[in-house]
Amino acid sequence: MKPSDSVNNFLILIPAFNESGAIADVVREVRQVAPTAPVLVVDDCSTDGTVRQAGSAGAEVLRLPYHLGLGGCVQAGYKLAFQLGYDYVIRVDGDGQHDPRYIPELLKVLQNTGCHMVIGSRFYQNNGVHTSAVRAVGIWIFRLVLRPILGQPVRDPTSGYVGVNREALQVFSGSFPLEYPEIEALVVLQRKRFRFQEVPCRMRPRKAGRSTITAVKSLYYIIHVLLGVFVNILKFEGGQKKE
């Protein structure tokens, strides 16, 4: 699964945990949109048929030995992509919420602008917003907090529909937040003075499965992420462990 050439040097990364109801369709849709790109499903130790479904739909599957959570799952994919020499990785969720038709646009922005990370934003032009009221309040709080930290507005900080270039891949291979990684990842990039850009995307309702962030967990989510943001700002990088 090595990069084919310098032009098509990108990988589609799909983290998945118990997504047997949607993963095959997601992989097929992605392959229709980006037929030359390898599709890597990182299976976070699913107990259903996710691995089989993803494999039969034409994806390569990286199987984690035990459940690491979203951050550990995505980071494993980033590590493999970096080791294999990919220049760009586009992450698409395995539940079908991310419309693969925006992959070429995300890639184009990454390649043409030189920014390190591109975020598919459902709020950029009010594109088909599918989010709960509690989550919307959380996103509003995150926007307020992140604006001065990042030095630029971010409309959809919780979006997992992101693309990264090789420099960001290298950073994330070494350090990536484990729980609810999207927002903290932005702070990790900011510490490196990396740039990000948002691209308007339409999100769809999930095809199967349940969100990991339920209404009950939302308050914990907001507190956890805000704490994670401040800890990341204060983090001493000289003490990072080597692998």
Binding site: M1, L62, R63, L64, P65, L68, G72, Q75, K79, E243
Partner: protein, 116 residues
């Protein structure tokens, strides 16, 4: 006060015996038993030394020596628990890195076998 100090003495001896027994049975590694043994020794010494406890409570401006003992015990255990949190965090990081590496190595082995 005397009853509380006696109870603390018994508690510290029980803690010490429990830790030593656990080390002997390999339930706790020696390096992690040190914190608990140190905590139990501090507890034992303070509960048996009235003069030291009175001196500490005077220094802390407390009128009740048992209160000073409880405060010190709480501080000692906070330090032990903090140290264990650091150890757990290190182990979790190492464990995640190892799981990711294992998955990647297995993936690459599988890919090479398929290429052949």
């Amino acid at each position: 006060m005397e009853r509380l100090l006696n109870a603390m003495t018994v508690l510290s001896i029980l803690l010490m015996l429990l830790v030593l027994f656990s080390v002997r049975r390999s339930h706790i590694r020696v390096e992690y038993s040190v914190s608990w043994l140190a905590a139990s020794v501090i507890l034992l010494v303070l509960s048996r030394s009235h003069s030291m406890l009175n001196w500490i409570s005077d220094q802390l401006g407390l009128t009740s020596p048992p209160l000073a003992l409880i405060l010190l015990v709480a501080c000692v255990f906070v330090v032990v628990i903090y140290r264990l949190s650091v150890v757990i965090s290190d182990l979790k990081d190492a464990n995640i890195a190892m799981a990711q590496r294992l998955a990647i190595v297995e993936f690459q082995l599988h890919s090479r076998n398929e290429e052949r």
